[in-house]
């Protein structure tokens, strides 16, 4: 379940406030580099402290204004969370889980195949129809993987992950 705009604003205000406070404390406790005898006005923590304080102020204003925020449509009403979540999951698995662990070509072919198969799955057809969809997706995955890998390896001399 996705919270409404006002609730989402309130939750994010709390998160931003905490982030701002963390930045403020982080800047305050940061090394002042006295040992290097730098000018006290040029300490590395100065700008982080200011930014932290500014974000905290904005977070308070956001929290207070959450009720008055203009009537935005709740995201749940406009789109398909399932499609988005599936795309996000597949993409994150590919980028964080596969790339760097298995050869790039294999990872890419797998990702493109699964992505295409999942989103063009012919639910109403028989085994043959489904097998055909998977075969097309697999062929497409191999072609894309080969094209992208070759472009970067040969064309731009990149050592692929």
């Amino acid at each position: 379940m996705i919270p409404g705009p006002a609730t989402a604003d309130r939750i994010s205000a709390v998160v931003f406030f905490a982030l701002g406070a963390a930045m403020l404390v982080g800047g305050y406790t940061m090394d002042r580099l006295e040992i290097r005898q730098i000018h006290p006005a040029s300490i590395p923590g100065l700008v982080p402290m200011i930014l932290g304080a500014a974000l905290m102020i904005c977070a308070v204003l956001l929290f207070l204004g959450a009720r008055r925020s203009p009537g935005e449509v709740a995201p749940a009403a406009t789109g398909s969370i399932r499609a988005m979540a599936t795309a996000a999951l597949l993409s994150v698995l590919y980028a964080v889980g596969l790339v760097g662990r298995v050869p790039f070509e294999v990872a890419t072919a797998l990702y493109v195949t699964v992505f295409m198969a999942v989103f063009s799955w012919p639910a109403g057809t028989g085994v043959m129809g489904k097998a055909k969809a998977v075969a097309i997706a697999a062929g497409f995955g191999v072609v894309v993987s080969f094209a992208v890998s070759t472009l970067f390896r040969v064309g731009f001399l990149v050592r692929l992950p």
Binding site: P5, A8, S12, F16, M23, G26, M30, D31, I38, H39, A41, S42, I43, P44, L46, V47, P48, L51, A54, L55, C58, A59, L61, L62, G65, P70, E72, P75, T78, G79, S80, I81, M84, T86, A87, A88, S91, V92, Y94, A95, V96, V99, F104, T108, Y111, V112, F115, M116, F119, S120, F140, V144, V148, F152, G155, F156, L157, V158, L160, P161
Partner: protein, 505 residues
């Protein structure tokens, strides 16, 4: 006169078959990128930057500028045929373009959009050539105090204008961007901040992976989240594919005004093509005789929006080249690309490479000619491209999002940065936080940080010069005014006084 001769010299220097080849493919690719929902101009320029490392300097910049111009123009295709702006820049185009397409006048609309875009860019190029050199010279008088306020002004005005009805979210996005820029080694004492004992963070968060995430991966998720669009057919339509001279003549004032508005919006740091289009559209609606047709298929509204967004491109290059402060999100990537190719944008550009501004103007001109030719000649092809299903397009785009940032540094860490920015960017977008101030914050963070501390060191901790030096004082006043205008009561009063602005997407 000097501007004219500089422009002429640049024209002669660039005129070659190789240039024509690069202009042709890069602009065409740009139009495709722009016309496909899910691929934005920023993402196109960012991804193409990774492909230009091995190219020669002028060719690389030319290719990126053609991509930028092509993508901003290409967004009008899907806005007209799908009612989904290919890039946010074309949101205003959809208001009148889509109704025209539904009336069976899609080709006429596309022809007019092409002419509007080309003319808008021309107006912008003229202003770029005229304004950039004097601005570059004025920028030489900028010291730490002025640069600090300029960067703050950029964040504030970008937050204000892109935050729509709720500027606070724009400011928050800007502060978050600045915070991201605080990670890693700082520019004065080389002290490493916020690395959490994790070595890859020592160098900070690079702009390209962050932008590819925020504009690429986040866009993919947005496309998968949104309902599928339906292309309005153009087959069998007997509508004309060339714009009518009479239309262009009738809307000459709209074109001129939108061109100037677009360019001026482009000059404002971090305020991109979408705002240029909305501002031009609102101005046209206010003064038009066919006001009641706006939103129902007005040719004038379409012309204003397309001229306005395209004129932002040359406008955005003005501060990017002379101050190293990007006028729009794609211009931010272009700045990064300029550094990669050995050009140092900023006040010194007029001394170190005075001809470069004219080279950019000529590159923009070539890109404009290319969009005019492609736009009018390949109408049917572009309509076909829009029918590529998203389940085919999106995995390819994401593969490029993964390998593009990696190619720059060959670090897997940059892929993770892209993923994190994509996920966070998607959530922030759904909550109506604009991405432009965030990106501007990342690029201006260093400027804010170094110039504040350098200024304070110069004045021995005294804040007075930040407020009393003439240019600083003007910038402080502008920042103050912008902040005051973001207070709802003041905004309501002002919009009542001036008769309201355009809707925001």
């Amino acid at each position: 006169m000097e501007a004219l001769s500089g422009f002429g010299e640049a024209l002669v220097r660039l005129a070659s078959l190789e240039t024509a080849f690069h202009v042709a493919w890069a602009t065409l690719l740009g139009i495709f990128v722009g016309s496909l929902p899910g691929l934005t101009a920023t993402m196109g320029v960012a991804l193409l930057t990774t492909l230009t490392y091995t190219m020669e300097r002028d060719a690389a910049i030319l290719v990126l500028i053609c991509m930028y111009v092509g993508a901003i123009y290409g967004g009008s295709r899907s806005a007209i045929l799908l009612n989904i702006p290919g890039t946010p820049a074309s949101a205003a185009t959809a208001l009148d373009g889509y109704p025209l397409a539904r009336q069976g006048r899609a080709r006429h609309a596309m022809a007019l959009a092409t002419a509007g875009s080309a003319l808008g860019t021309m107006v912008g190029i003229l202003l770029l050539v005229l304004l950039a050199p004097p601005l570059g010279e004025a920028a030489l008088r900028f010291g730490s105090f002025e640069f600090f306020w300029l960067a703050v002004f950029g964040i504030v005005i970008s937050g204000q204008l892109t935050g729509g009805t709720y500027p606070l979210k724009g400011y928050i996005a800007g502060i978050l961007g600045l915070m991201v820029a605080m990670v890693g080694s700082e520019g004065i004492h080389a002290h490493i901040r916020f690395n959490f004992d994790y070595q890859p963070l020592n160098g900070g968060i690079a702009l390209i992976p962050a932008m590819v995430g925020a504009f690429g991966f986040a866009e993919i998720l947005t496309v998968m989240f949104a309902p599928k669009g339906h292309v309005v057919g153009t087959r069998g339509e007997r509508d004309r594919i060339l714009p009518r001279w009479s239309d262009l003549w009738r809307y000459k004032f709209t074109i001129g005004r939108s061109g100037v508005i677009g360019t001026l919006v482009g000059i404002i740091p971090g305020v991109g093509e979408d705002i240029g289009a909305w501002a031009s559209y609102a101005a046209a609606r206010r003064t038009s005789r066919e006001r009641d047709r706006f939103g129902k298929g007005s040719l004038e509204g379409l012309t204003a929006a397309e001229t306005g967004n395209s004129a932002v491109v040359p406008g955005a290059m003005i501060p990017a080249l002379t101050l190293a402060v990007p006028g729009s999100a794609p211009a931010a990537v272009l700045i990064a690309a300029l550094f990669i190719h050995g050009i140092r944008p900023g006040p010194m550009i007029m001394i170190e490479q005075p001809d470069f501004i004219y080279l950019v103007a000529v590159m923009l001109l070539f890109a404009t000619l290319a969009i005019a030719v492609f736009g009018l000649a390949l109408t049917r092809l572009f309509a076909l491209v829009l029918k590529v299903p998203r389940e085919i397009l999106m995995p390819i785009v994401f593969t490029l999002c993964v390998i593009g940032p990696y190619a720059l540094t060959q670090r897997v860490f940059d892929i993770w940065v892209m993923v994190v920015f994509g996920l966070v960017g998607f959530v922030l977008r759904q909550m109506h936080y604009p991405m432009a101030p965030l990106v501007l914050g990342i690029i201006l963070g260093d400027l804010v940080d170094k110039n504040l501390r350098r200024g304070l060191t110069l004045s021995d901790g005294d804040l007075t010069p930040f407020f009393t030096r003439p240019i600083s004082a003007v910038l402080v006043a502008l920042i103050g005014l912008t902040l005051v205008f973001s207070i709802p009561v003041v905004r309501t009063g002002a919009s009542r006084l001036f008769g309201g602005g355009g809707p925001r997407g």
